[in-house]
Subunit: 312 residues, 4 copies
């Protein structure tokens, strides 16, 4: 075929200064941190969801992963469970369907009891000029990201409230949820909605023992994200140049942050929104960061000109 899947696209090497920012892949929390805990991860069979599942399982959690492709889930579950020795259940679920969500949650309840950790990670996205977006394309993304997250959160939340059981919720959004971004507009809107949902419930449902936090990842190579956001691989170099740490993130790094937020080490955190992006956001947003292009010689000239300026 004339199209390569993103995983075969030539990848950019990290920038030299990324040597200052070495990724640490090992799990950082103490062994057994999640012993006796149940974690539910949507989209847990691939990409970041899979990495978070692997880390939670490694730390002792019994995991349930759910998405549309049962085969993918089952394989991931088997592999992770094989490595960690802890149970990982695969459950088919399309989060867009509220009745399917209810059935799934009932199933989980009977399988493992209500979860202690819930990670809303399932999402869809693709790049597209907004003038080409149909109402259907709009809904194809927002139904998964916003409604799907809401259905899962409300269904589990209600049952947790009813059972007077505490839990830690985590949503995976994106750095452009706050700023917005062209060319991924349904995703931006839906992820912003997810953030408001979580901040709202952090205030409303805290007294029921529920916490809600958010991670906004920057670019982390996964097949799912990169094949739909940079299918030709041509934007990766530009991306690297505006990430102060000079490299993409790694799924295992995000899994460490996620496991922290879902653990009792973070039991006082709620309503927090954590940017995890190598510094990309502040680099892009800062109006004068363009001046990185100025050479030392040019700075000398500019400095003199500035000094010689009289008045306003």
């Amino acid at each position: 075929s004339c199209f390569h899947s993103s995983s075969t696209v030539a990848q950019q090497p990290p920038l030299p200064h990324s040597r200052f920012f070495p990724p640490l892949e090992a799990a950082m929390l103490p062994d057994g941190t999640f012993r006796g805990r149940v974690a539910f991860i949507t989209g847990g069979g691939t990409g970041l969801g899979r990495a978070m599942t692997a880390t939670l399982s490694h730390l002792g959690a019994e995991c349930v992963i759910a998405s549309r492709k049962l085969e993918v889930l089952q394989q991931a579950a088997d592999e992770i469970s094989g490595q960690t020795g802890n149970k990982v259940h695969a459950v088919q679920l399309d989060v867009r369907d509220p009745q399917a969500v209810t059935r799934c949650v009932e199933h989980i309840e009977s399988l493992t009891g209500l979860p202690d950790v819930i990670i809303n990670n399932a999402a869809g996205n693709f790049v597209c000029p907004s003038e080409n977006l149909s109402a259907n394309a709009w809904k194809s993304i927002t139904d998964i990201v916003l409604n799907g997250t809401a259905f899962v959160t409300l269904e589990l939340g209600k049952r947790l409230v009813r059972s007077q059981k505490g839990a830690a919720f985590l949503a995976i959004t994106t750095i452009y949820a706050e700023s917005g971004s062209g060319f991924v507009v349904p995703s931006a809107a839906a992820k912003a909605g997810v953030e408001a949902l979580y901040k709202s419930l952090a205030g409303e449902w805290g007294h029921y023992g529920l916490r809600f936090n958010i991670i906004q990842p920057g670019p982390i190579r996964t097949k799912g994200a990169f094949s739909r956001l940079d299918p030709t691989g041509q934007f990766e170099a530009g991306m690297l140049s505006r990430i102060p740490t000079g490299r993409l993130g790694q799924a295992s790094e995000m899994a460490n942050l996620a496991s922290y937020l879902c653990s009792d080490y973070a039991s006082w955190m709620s309503g927090a929104v954590i940017r995890f992006d190598g510094g990309e956001y502040v680099m892009m947003a800062g109006e004068f960061n363009e001046l990185h292009k100025v050479t030392a010689d040019q700075w000398k000239v500019m400095e003199k000109m500035i000094r010689s300026t009289k008045g306003s």
Copy 2:
């Protein structure tokens, strides 16, 4: 009946210091500012939408207002047009239905040409503990607020792009779109989505001649909002006490701000999010604003205690 409509609920008088913040109800822009312009306002038959329509019409715009209740729209259109002498068209539209949106926009195009000003103001909302929210209740709000705004914006946007015609878009969101809020969670999520949509398109579609701005109103008495957010009227006093300007806003004031943002006086504004709330948000969010309760005598005691503190 044992239930009063909110308009009959005893209203709180403004606080004394609101005398420093007198509402100015007259239109502030020069006559004819919108002469020759067409404005499309969803939910333009009631509340804030009606006030914005009245002001734009007064300033010379030909207006099209659209929502579900044609009768209400028609009456508003007639009254406004009667006062201003400028045409106001009433068009029935349920913004949740993308095909209806397409038909409505086609109708407008033939009626007035594509609009120069588009105000996404239609919304639904009600207070409810989130553990009582069904999937349907969730969708009843987000379908209007987020999807409805998207359908209207995308449909008009595409046609404006195709016709190489500029326009100013305005969305009406709310102060809790950013912070989130319990008890109005679907609204918070959907309005946050609207904000991301607008910020995204401000960046993406500027070169097509389109601008996108947002007003986040605080509490402004309208039947629609207050009957569903404070049906008993019992929270209004609390609200007033945390509004630094000591009073609710008035629809005519917001109409002045909206008309500014949609006029060429603001032709350089895009991607802006303007809080219009009497100061309520910063008052609520500021951790130590509770100390307003401290009396002058208590301050003296506290000051001495602080001065006498040694070390950390």
Copy 3:
């Protein structure tokens, strides 16, 4: 000399699509809006401060402008007053010196009475790699911008509180106050401080009749700003390319916004932060806005690749 002052640097023409966003230079508020009002504007002799003074004076205000260079102030005062027929007073003031601020305010009080409108607009700034910043350079900026604004605001605020007189405060900050930005770091920090100061006082001092709002301008050509931020003029083209409205702002446009915020038309606005930047901020901050570079043909290829992607 081998250095041109910025005003002689070749200026970039606006982009073609800026025709959709024509600047309106005339004053937008009704004549006499500020009749009988006194406005105090720091840095009112040059650039944006001068434009705001001219507009307020045109609308009937008696103005007091203050900065270090009395001659510049006096000339501006005379010119503006000559055009508008309303008094403009020039007062020498270095805002870094709290005693000078007290004396200046005493002088104003005897001259015009306490002002109804206070605009903290004076500032200093220059571009510089942060590793070259001395403690003195840091203080040279933050003393003007943050301490200067605080001294003026506290001194006037106290007296207004004591006299039970209301007033509208406005601070001019910048779009990078929130995001931060390299190469203008003292300015970023100080302007962020000013924003927190204003949001804080909006909550604390509302009940005294005082309102506080903020404008964050994007790039507007003034000699003061451009000679110190882009002395060679080489960054202007890059700037334009990321401003969705395709042009720089004009001082007169900002003066219209400022006059609105300081007028009773905005008497319900307090604690608001208004970005006025042609859309630059959302364009820079949005992660995928880079895709503006993708051609229509490339989009077709990318779309096919995305469609052909199977799984995650």
Copy 4:
């Protein structure tokens, strides 16, 4: 004496539902995470600074703590070092004095080499109505918090850049840095400045191997903070009622978060601002969170009223 120090003030018990959010006090990172690393902590002799020092030392770091009171520092250094077996150096420093900062950094450089971890934690604060603030009171806070942080950061930053050595910077700000707050206005302004400083440098200095992150703590009992912010102890109950997790934070919990951010586990995090506040901010800021007061019976009445509302 008639004034109790805050530590003797009767403390509020946590709310019952805080049982869902048990504090975990043990260090969460693997032993030796900071082995071979040097950490510099301003204000490291008391409160949160001391807790962070203890955790870093426990995890293997050689620590240098600096503030004005050498005796306090020395005692803390000895105690911590006694427990962990790792060196803790006490250095006298007033961060307001740039020359003292330079000397201190020179001293550290010779003592331990340039640090790998820098925590700007020193601060001053007290509650006070802003109309009572003198210019000196303003400067007493902002000089420590903003200028002190800048002097330390610039001095160390320059040397790290020159030596081509990477490092992780962390600043401790507060939840009201973004929102502002009355009655702690100089602190709000200065902390907002610190945040902008850090976000700016995260973009500018990343390519030198430097990362910059921020923690915004909510209320954590320390003598330094509580004796100056709630000297009488009377506001603690109100505080608890708006913290969704129903309790204050603990210094050891914050130390875990801080150690994570300064470790290589977070080597991809830069420019992040992390709220660590038990959910207090979103609870305060959310406009309808007041409705927590509504009883189940009142909700039934309200629901009926809302359902019976016709039209807008």
